[in-house]
């Protein structure tokens, strides 16, 4: 420990801006989201929703595009009780009011999962969530009214009755 209790503090910040191309695979995926369509692809004998630019096992490029109605299964989830502040999470303005649920969703026939919000009329009451939300639960996407070609064109996933 420094022998001085009250050393002076100096603050600074970096304002870095970034812009990247989404490339072919994610561009097509995002464009279709705008049309309320969820596409994936096939690499070797495995299928992926969302699509992958290539298979990391076979190192092959995808052989075909696939489409899904977006129904799937909850693999894991968390109920977020603490609001993210705007410093910690610059996109915090797009987050729902707390508490909210983020799920890990395995779209049917996909080898990988999608992370997204869980919500809907069935899940109005947060008191019921710890009982209601279980791994293995069936869900489907609910689309945003306004879509701009991002993953948030899906508003959330809701339970399938």
């Amino acid at each position: 420990m420094s022998s001085m209790d009250n050393t002076i503090r100096k603050e600074w910040s970096f304002d870095f801006d970034y812009s990247v191309s989404l490339g072919e695979t994610y561009t097509k995926f995002m464009e279709k989201l705008r049309e309320k369509r969820l596409i994936g692809n096939k690499c070797g004998d495995r299928t992926f929703f969302p699509p992958l630019p290539f298979c990391s096992r076979t190192f092959e490029l995808p052989s075909e595009w696939l489409e899904s109605d977006g129904e799937g299964t909850i693999e894991a989830f968390t109920i977020n009780y603490q609001k993210a502040n705007s410093v910690a999470y610059t996109a915090s303005r797009v987050l729902p009011e707390v508490p909210y649920i983020i799920g890990v969703i395995k779209i049917d026939n996909s080898e990988q999962c999608l992370l997204h919000f869980l919500s809907g009329p069935e899940l109005k009451n947060p008191e019921e969530w710890p009982e209601k939300i279980q791994a293995g639960m069936r869900v489907r996407p609910v689309w945003s009214e306004e879509r701009s070609g991002t993953i948030l064109d899906i508003k959330y996933f809701e339970p399938v009755k």
């Binding site: 420990m1 420094s2 001085m4 209790d5 009250n6 050393t7 603050e11 600074w12 970096f14 989404l22 994610y26 969302p50 990391s56 693999e75 894991a76 989830f77 968390t78 109920i79 977020n80 009780y81 603490q82 993210a84 502040n85 410093v87 910690a88 999470y89 610059t90 996109a91 797009v94 987050l95 909210y100 983020i102 890990v104 990988q112 999962c113 999608l114 992370l115 997204h116 919000f117 710890p130 279980q134 791994a135 293995g136 991002t150 993953i151 948030l152």
Partner: protein, 388 residues
């Protein structure tokens, strides 16, 4: 044939919260390295170091290439400096790379420095969240704690693990941190206090979550000849390896830690370990979220799937048990970013050297295990088997 390599010195600073830190980064660096040189004694000086392996993550420190910024890392003696960055794993990774360099005969005496990474941050989560996959995962609010929570809710649903089970292992860490002079959170929270602390993201309570700490750690390693000459209690590196997982979290299987299991199998084979619970005397595992200690017990083969809470309940992994784990309070109680992945190794070395303070010394510990992970949530693991 590679040479024998041993840890001959451990350096530490005290730890505090990032917000209360009153030491400048080079003051911390100097104090930490000096404590390692004093630990070794025998006239060893900065000029005797053949290379420096520096572990950090640039964005956390607020300066590009932070290894350049402290004038005891090679600047005065023309010593080569290597920067290793595997996110939170980097302390383990830098140690592993330094070990390989000495084993290969490149250098005789090397310093590994685990930087006080999060000490400069105003809001550490701001940087942590920038590690999430930006195109399809980060927009849905997935930060480090959410990714951690997925593994733990999955573990709960597969094995009927309760909130009490998680609190129990958190309490074990808090209890021992009280007696660790190098721990940051030394509050000794009990199971009851942990269970009544707020849930941040289910199932993780506030006291099952690491603090943002400031402080640094270092190790000095040496080739077999130099180690015997400079140290009465060298700790030999028997096996050391690392493994890599996907960047997209959605690509992972949240059922346990299969990559760590695969790594453990490789490392145990290298070290000739057949029954880890019987053959390992002390372990430090990486647990910024307390429940991960259970996933790690199972991946490391200390017990079967879903059996880890029983080991804790029966005291098997507590002081006096068959395989004490994390008697430092581990990452749960002290997480200054990258140095927290090196303190898993430094604590294990101190246990094997018989130099642990605070009544936490394990008697006759001969074989130790040290583990770290990071990247974005278990993207990388490192695992070391150390022995006296």
């Amino acid at each position: 044939m590679a040479r024998g390599v041993a840890v001959i010195g451990v350096g530490n600073t005290t730890y505090t919260s990032a917000k209360r830190e009153n030491r400048e980064r080079s003051e911390l660096g100097r104090a930490c390295v000096k404590s390692a040189l004093d630990f070794i004694g025998r006239g060893l000086t900065l000029s005797d170091l053949d290379a420096i392996y520096f572990a950090s993550v640039d964005a956390f420190e607020g300066i590009q290439r932070p290894e350049r910024s402290i004038d005891c890392f090679g600047q005065s003696f023309g010593t080569p400096v290597y920067s290793v960055n595997t996110g939170g794993t980097a302390g383990g990774s830098a140690f592993k790379d330094a070990f390989h360099a000495v084993a290969a005969g490149l250098y005789d005496i090397v310093l590994v420095y685990g930087s006080s990474t999060t000490g400069a941050t105003v809001e550490a989560q701001q940087i942590l969240n920038s590690a999430s996959p930006p195109l399809i995962e980060k927009p849905c609010g997935a930060g480090a704690i959410h990714m951690a929570a997925y593994y733990l809710t999955r573990y709960q649903s597969e094995h009927e693990i309760t909130a009490e089970d998680f609190a129990l292992v958190a309490a074990k860490n808090h209890k021992h941190a009280v007696n660790n002079p190098y721990a940051h959170m030394r509050k000794g929270y009990t199971t009851e206090e942990i269970l009544t602390s707020p849930v941040v993201c289910s199932p993780i309570h506030l006291y099952e979550l690491c603090p943002v700490s400031s402080g640094s750690a270092c190790l000095v390693i040496a080739s077999e000849d130099r180690a015997r000459e400079l140290c009465d209690t060298p700790v030999w590196i028997k096996a050391f390896g690392s493994i890599t997982n996907s960047f997209l979290v959605g690509y992972r299987d949240f059922s346990g830690l299969p990559m760590l299991k695969m790594l453990a199998e490789r490392i145990y084979k290298m070290a000739g370990i057949k029954n880890p619970l019987e053959e390992i005397d002390y372990a430090e595992v990486f647990n910024p979220f307390a429940g991960f200690e259970y996933l790690e017990y199972e991946a490391l083969g200390f017990c079967g799937q879903g059996e880890a809470p029983r080991l804790t309940r029966e005291g098997v992994t507590d002081q006096g048990g068959k395989l004490p784990v994390n008697l430092s309070g581990s990452t749960l109680c002290t997480n200054s970013g990258i140095s927290a992945s090196l303190t898993r190794h430094s604590e294990t070395c101190l246990q094997l050297m018989g130099k642990i303070e605070g009544g936490r010394q394990v008697k006759n510990a001969r074989v130790g295990l040290a583990h770290s992970w990071g990247g974005n949530m278990c993207q990388f693991h490192t695992l070391a088997i150390l022995s006296r």
